[in-house]
């Protein structure tokens, strides 16, 4: 095998593993975000007791305690369940929830030493359709869990949820079609590249990035709602419906099997956030600075990256410092020092970023470093967008009550589906007038 091909294979293998690890790493963070977010919305404090040697990481350590609890629990398989399918269901749910991320690009391809390094596991020719088809397989996990548990509540939960997922899959697919009509391609890399330009309407360039949210505002809203429904997230969490069905489809699951369902739910949301950010918010594209512009001007990427870091870390540092001062009288020792430690780390990053920027602007960075900075900047940009959508998931859950089942079906079939079709019609007419 020639070295170029070997490089491509290694690249694909590394990216595939990475794309499996990224949503898994997001899950504990997301759970922490959910707990702290719900605490903020409900005016509570949230998890703040668990700690390792006094380090509490602002409640993040609670996740370790949860993992230990779930792993240590007895792995109960009830007597009258269909054992094989009962065990299969959580694995199916987890596997399917991690797959769609394989086609999402994390940054623009990097040309280095004659090789092209791609930050995407698989640039499939069917791109977006792959995501749709994998999400459509996700229903089986829930159906199997509900049916094999041999429990009325579980079966009811899984029936509700599968009906809901099938109904909203239609609006999701149709809202995507409008987007594909605009971008004229289904390949994820092409879709993201197209979004790097400026928006043009009837020959006039507008001062807006060419993002899906501006091209397809109705499509974006429909897709967002459908994504909430597909991930079984409140206000669409009828699959669980604690007040009506005890816990819905995962009622009979305990220990690690339950934690797999739990993780799959959060991994689904992370993947949905990645997909929405990629399709509608320009993916890794930095607004008003396309990949070509970043590659042409070696200092642009450096300045943008350092400014973003200074802004983010500066804000975080101020927040940590204030928190430390507020809680100074409550704690002693490590607990007292922890916020100041984190504030210090953040400010150190700020100083380092400023120093790097100063050095780069005056002395100039060595060739090649700029090439590495661009993917870092673009990855940071994508992660910020994803974080926003993660927060949106938390925000909506703790703000809106659950739908009633008939409301849910009425909305899916009588509101979202006609709207999606109308959106298609309007998009087609507008595209024809553009030509």
């Amino acid at each position: 095998m020639d070295p170029n091909q070997t490089c491509t294979l290694i690249n694909i293998a590394v990216m595939t593993v990475l794309m499996w690890l990224i949503p898994l790493q997001f899950v504990p963070f997301f759970i922490w975000l959910e707990r702290k977010g719900s605490a903020i919305i409900q005016d509570r404090v949230g998890p703040n007791r668990t700690g390792i040697l006094g380090f509490r990481l602002f409640g993040m350590v609670q996740n370790f305690a949860d993992v230990v609890k779930l792993v240590m629990k007895e792995n109960i398989v009830p007597a009258n369940v269909n054992r094989f399918y009962f065990m299969l269901a959580p694995f199916w749910a987890m596997t399917v929830s991690l797959l769609p991320l394989l086609v999402v690009p994390l940054a623009a391809p990097l040309e280095m030493a004659g090789h092209s390094i791609r930050f995407q596991a698989a640039d499939l020719g069917v791109g977006v359709l792959f995501i749709l088809s994998i999400t459509s397989m996700g229903v089986f996990g829930i159906i199997l869990a509900g049916w094999s548990s041999n429990n009325k509540f579980s079966l009811l939960g899984s029936l509700r949820s599968s009906a809901q997922m099938i109904s909203y899959e239609l609006s999701m697919g149709l809202s995507m079609v409008g987007l594909l009509m605009v971008y004229q391609d289904v390949r994820m890399s092409v879709i993201v590249e197209t979004q790097g330009r400026l928006l043009t309407a009837w020959g006039h360039a507008l001062p807006l990035p060419n993002w899906g949210i501006f091209l397809q505002p109705v499509g974006f809203l429909l897709f967002l709602v459908a994504a909430f429904a597909e991930t079984n997230r409140n206000p669409f969490d009828l699959a669980e419906g604690e007040s009506e069905l005890v816990a819905g489809f995962h009622l009979e699951y305990s220990s690690v099997k339950f934690s797999l369902f739990f993780m799959a739910e959060y991994a689904n949301m992370v993947v949905a956030a990645f997909v929405i950010a990629t399709l509608f918010l320009g993916g890794y594209q930095v607004p008003f600075a396309s990949t070509q512009e970043l590659q042409a001007d070696p200092k642009l990427a450096l300045v943008l990256l350092c400014c973003t870091l200074v802004l983010l870390k500066g804000l975080a540092g101020v927040f940590f410092y204030k928190r430390g001062v507020q809680q100074k009288h409550l704690y002693t020792g490590v607990k007292q020092a922890e916020p100041f430690l984190f504030a210090g780390l953040c400010f150190a990053v700020v100083v380092a970023a400023l120093g790097l920027m100063g050095y780069g602007l005056t002395a100039g960075l060595p060739a090649g470093v700029n090439g590495v900075l661009i993917p870092v900047l673009q990855l940071l940009c994508l992660l910020l967008k994803v974080l926003f959508f993660c927060w949106l998931f938390v925000w909506v859950r703790w703000t809106l009550p659950r739908f009633r089942y008939d409301q849910l079906m009425k909305m899916g079939w009588k509101l979202m589906l006609p709207l999606a079709l109308l959106n298609l019609l309007v998009t087609g007419v507008l595209l024809l007038t553009q030509k």
């Binding site: 069917v126 749709l132 088809s133 459509s136 089986f140 049916w147 029936l159």
Partner: protein, 167 residues
């Protein structure tokens, strides 16, 4: 080489799962076997560079139609006693398999390869992709395509009439 290995693995999965479909008495087991068989079939399509057909296979058959089938089976709530008379014998299965092979696949193969020439011309660029299939459907095969949508519409209306006695 790699393609041949993949083909044999996928073909084995496909055949094994299809056997499960017709030999299991538990309907859920059969339909799940069918889901995996559809997946293997989709992978075979992808191996034949028909990527769009592969993805549609998963999206429509495995993801859509099979969910509805499992739905119906679960709601029927069949017990093991109801299913016992339906269990098929091994010989019947083998004979019906042979009959299908001879009766359906044989003529098809004879029509497709009349001269027995199994070596194909290389495929053009973008074959089986979304652009190639789409432009074929909406130019050369527009009439059959529209007829198909009409047939589907008829089926939907028929299902509605059957299920809703009082419209």
């Amino acid at each position: 080489m790699l393609e041949a290995v993949l083909f044999y693995i996928l073909a084995a999965v496909l055949l094994g799962m299809t056997l499960l479909v017709i030999t299991r008495t538990n309907p859920i087991a059969s339909s799940l076997g069918l889901v995996v068989a559809f997946g293997a079939l989709a992978a075979l399509y992808a191996l034949l560079s028909a990527s769009l057909v592969a993805i549609i296979q998963i999206l429509v058959y495995a993801g859509g139609i099979m969910v509805l089938m499992i739905f119906v089976i679960m709601l029927l709530n069949l017990h093991a006693d109801d299913l016992r008379p339906m269990a098929a014998r091994g010989l019947t299965v083998a004979l019906s398999l042979l009959a299908v092979m001879a009766g359906v696949l044989g003529p098809v193969l004879l029509v497709v390869f009349p001269s027995g020439n199994w070596i194909m011309a290389p495929l053009p660029d973008g074959f089986g992709g979304i652009f190639a299939v789409g432009s074929k459907i909406f130019s050369d095969y527009l009439f059959p395509f529209e007829m198909l949508s009409l047939v589907l519409l008829t089926a939907i209306v028929g299902a509605l009439v059957l299920s809703k006695r009082k419209l």
